[in-house]
């Protein structure tokens, strides 16, 4: 498998170097390049509110620790890793406050129904239901694989699992979606 994304990765590294050299516009371009993917991943992970704030926190934390970014993974994958940690922290604190109802597999379709104000098409609505019924880990892996096109290796880094486990999660998710759509 080739990796055309490498060009994007190099662009990210160049922008990071420019920012470190004092070019603040490089930060704007980095945010423009990755904020949508981070927002999408947040929604796919079940985050419903304050997505802007979550994306902002992710970038702030990333820029504060850019010295620790060695470029061993792509910048976007590194951002996903940071965002996922923030999501977990946020969920823990919200769980403590009991202000948030975790999206359970049994009621996840309802959660997605409540979110959806855009999709009118029946097929798309059923797709949302199908994805919404996945387990949280399956949903994360499936979204990163389908929406972002990450490799299993990159997904494993982002969600803190192994490459093999990421592959299994993806195929189980795909099977579950097909089964739901066939019902």
């Amino acid at each position: 498998m080739s990796n055309p994304v490498r060009g994007d990765d190099q662009r990210d590294l160049d922008l990071i170097a420019r920012w470190k050299a004092g070019d603040e516009r490089a930060a704007t371009e980095l945010v423009e390049r990755h904020s949508a993917a981070l927002a999408r991943f947040a929604v796919s992970s079940g985050e419903r509110s304050d997505v802007d704030e979550l994306v902002q926190d992710t970038f702030v934390r990333a820029f504060n620790s850019l010295d620790g970014f060695r470029g061993e993974s792509s910048f976007r994958t590194w951002l996903f890793t940071i965002e996922r940690r923030l999501l977990l922290d946020r969920r823990r604190s919200e769980k403590r406050r009991r202000d948030r109802t975790e999206i359970q597999e049994s009621d996840s379709a309802t959660e997605y129904d409540a979110l959806d104000s855009v999709v009118a098409d029946e097929t798309q609505r059923r797709l949302e239901d199908a994805v919404g019924r996945l387990s949280p880990t399956q949903r994360e892996v499936f979204a990163l694989r389908v929406a972002e096109g990450l490799s299993y290796k990159e997904i494993a880094e982002a969600v803190g699992t192994t490459e093999g486990a990421a592959r299994v999660h993806y195929h189980n998710a795909m099977r579950a979606v097909k089964e739901f759509l066939d019902e």
């Binding site: 080739s2 990796n3 904020s35 997505v51 979110l115 389908v146 096109g149 490799s151 099977r175």
Partner: protein, 226 residues
Amino acid sequence: MNDCPNAEIRDQLPDLLHDRLDVSMRAAVMAHVDACVDCRAELDLLRSVHGMLMARTPRVDINYVVNALPKPMAATRAQPARLAPRRRVWSDWRIAAAVTVLAVGGGSFALLRQGVNPPTADTMLAQTSPIGSAATPSRDSVTVPTPSRVADASSAPSGSTSVARGATTSADEQAGLATTARLADLNERQLQALLDQIDQLQAVPITEPEPVTLRVNNKSTSPEGA
């Protein structure tokens, strides 16, 4: 919807969707998809899910994010360092230290200079003599040298200071040196009384002792009372 038994090709379908395959792999996958109904259906499903997820992407306020970002380190370093106040504090501290050293050193030097010519026992005894001395320190007390000075004075040659001879009483003897002017003129009982007084002192100063004031009977210090 069925799963294609070719798991390797199915694994590549998302990469085909995102155009992440090299030319040869892409050609192989495309050839398989053209011939495989299940893979074609799965690829269509992937396109639909991708479209759905993209449509759900919330809009992010770029300025909101960028405004919260830290400044580049290079820009921070470019700001002038403000070290002048710190240097001033250090300078003030050094001045204070120098003044302290001078004060301590000067005081020590003055003390050493004072110790070069200590008053002799004779001169001190003379000051305690009530005869011919209008400058008696007090009517109720006389000054007695401290033991170290007395010890030195005991071996010193006697001077010409007047002494109230024969004026000593038992009270005088208890007062020891208080009513006598010179050690050489003291009898044994008076010397013994003086030694007893020395033994009763609480402590012996190490250096430069201060004079000790003893209260004595006013009459015993006066020659008229003898």
